[in-house]
Amino acid sequence: MTSLLRRAAYRTGMFVAALALVVVVWETYKAFGPADGGKLFGARILPRTSEYAMPHVWDMFSRFGRPEVRGSDRTVFSAVLSGAWYSFRLSAAGFVMGSLLGVGLAMLMARFRFVQRGVLPYLVVSQTVPLIALAPLVVSWGGRLEVGPFTWPRWLSASVLGAFLAFFPIAVGTLRGLAAAPAASVELMQSYAASWGRTLLKLRFPTAVPYMVPAFRLGASASVIGVVVAEISTGLKGGIGRLIIEYAREATGDPAKVYTAIFGAAALGLTMAGVVIAVDVFVMRNRPKETVS
């Protein structure tokens, strides 16, 4: 347990050190870099070091504490926090939908070979459709959908687009995991006359866990990206995607502001990944640890 703690402390330390390094590089370039940026054959390949192009790191952080707009008593921090929280909820909804869809598809593909042959190529193709092109379609389809008292809320489009990005790595990873059960274990379950469902529950899913965990981690960050992009391209208000756009428009007068929203988005992605890692540590606690010998 102490070695686990020490490893956790080491990792946290490395993470902080890496962040500090980025800050040092940023500020060093800002202090000593050419004021007009670096040019190569007339094309600018290094940024200008002015306040507008590269605000000081401390300005970015102090911006959190000041009002969002002049005269308002709402700070940027609380605006970013509420935006990130809103987007987090949409991403979580998208992640859950994507997980159900991905795991469901993987189960069908593992059970029926013809489903795998028929569906898998379309899954791959689906991921080549640009999200920006899909976003307005989903919004307009959703807007027309009305089942009894249910009407399609606007935020659901963003979640659906998050799910659309999240389900693919989850489906592929789970499928690989379900197929990874050793032949002898499958024969063993057969020798117990276990049904396909029991075999799935007692053997295939437990075997798949080490494959599913990284797939879910990818899916979690993909759902955040999907939601943020969808917020931007559908103009959905309230989330961190919208804040990035709004603050970027003010970049000429208030250059530090947009970075606060970007930090918010990064924190959002890290939180989603962190939740999955916590689940990973929990479900894998009794498995053989390959890194420890």
């Binding site: 050793p182 057969q190 117990y192 276990a194 053997l203 498995r287």
Partner: protein
């Protein structure tokens, strides 16, 4: 009563295609209750296929397999046999106890009964204090003993083993052979045992079935006259060596026939 009765069984893979393989051809074998029978032969002789026909993991192309007086398929549904493989194949995510309980879970036993039986089985394989360990915390030999405990947990009358000690070192292997005989004597289990090792087959068995490849068939059955009481001293007895020689000749006879050499010519 006969535990296993195989009559004129054949098994071909990819039947009717260009790459047809006749894994077994016209094999007949009876195994009596309480008997220990080994199947031995070179790779490709169909000994594992024969074991899988008994287990109903494969269906014969022709012929009939009767286990415990019923069809092999029914015997599998009734879980009339337990099975152990070369890899212990324990589930990493289950404790040793939960691994042993797996067949009982699938049979729908309730929790208290499963626990009692699992503890009995742990006693039987002499690892009573390892119930709450995980398989990967155990040595290879211990894992294989747990696999045997799992195979016997539901008290099946028949145990099918496919090179269960093949991955163990020689010392552990001899120890495990003694353990297996002790366990079988204690439970009265009938065993069909696939192996590559002649001394292992002779030490364990009442009968050694020698098989040959292309197509897989039985070439010789050696009765081992070592009685039912066997110990480490058994390995030094002349009857032990005589049986080893008999099995070796059975194997060599077919080898000579294949390469076209006489028995004395080596």
């Amino acid at each position: 009563m006969t535990a296993v009765s195989i009559s004129k069984a054949s098994k071909s893979f990819n039947q009717g295609k260009a790459n047809q393989v006749d894994a077994l051809s016209d094999v007949s074998l009876d195994v009596q209750n309480g008997e220990f029978v080994s199947l031995i032969g070179p790779s490709g002789c169909g000994k594992s296929t024969l074991l899988r026909l008994i287990a109903n993991l494969l269906e014969p192309t022709a012929g009939e397999v009767v286990v415990n007086g019923k069809s092999a398929a029914q015997a599998r549904l009734d879980q009339d046999y337990g099975m152990a493989f070369q890899q212990a194949g324990l589930f990493d995510w289950r404790t040793v106890r939960k691994n042993i309980e797996l067949p009982l879970e699938l049979k729908g036993w309730d929790k208290a009964d499963r626990r009692t039986r699992a503890q009995e089985m742990l006693q039987l394989v002499q690892l009573p204090e390892f119930g709450d360990h995980y398989p990967w915390q155990l040595s290879g030999g211990m894992q294989q003993r747990i696999a045997i405990a799992r195979a016997l947990a539901a008290h099946p009358p028949l145990l099918l083993m496919d090179e269960p000690f093949g991955a163990l070192d020689e010392m552990t292997r001899e120890y495990m052979q003694g353990e297996l005989l002790r366990i079988c004597a204690a439970t009265g289990t009938t065993v069909v045992f696939v192996t590559h090792s002649i001394p292992e087959a002779v030490y364990l068995s009442n009968r050694v079935v020698v098989m040959s490849p292309r197509p897989g068939r039985i070439t010789k059955v050696v009765d081992v006259a070592l009685g039912s009481e066997r110990s480490e001293d058994t390995r030094n007895r002349s009857a032990f060596f005589e049986s080893i020689t008999a099995v070796r000749e059975g194997l060599r006879g077919m080898h000579a026939a294949h390469v076209g050499l006489g028995n004395d010519d080596r």
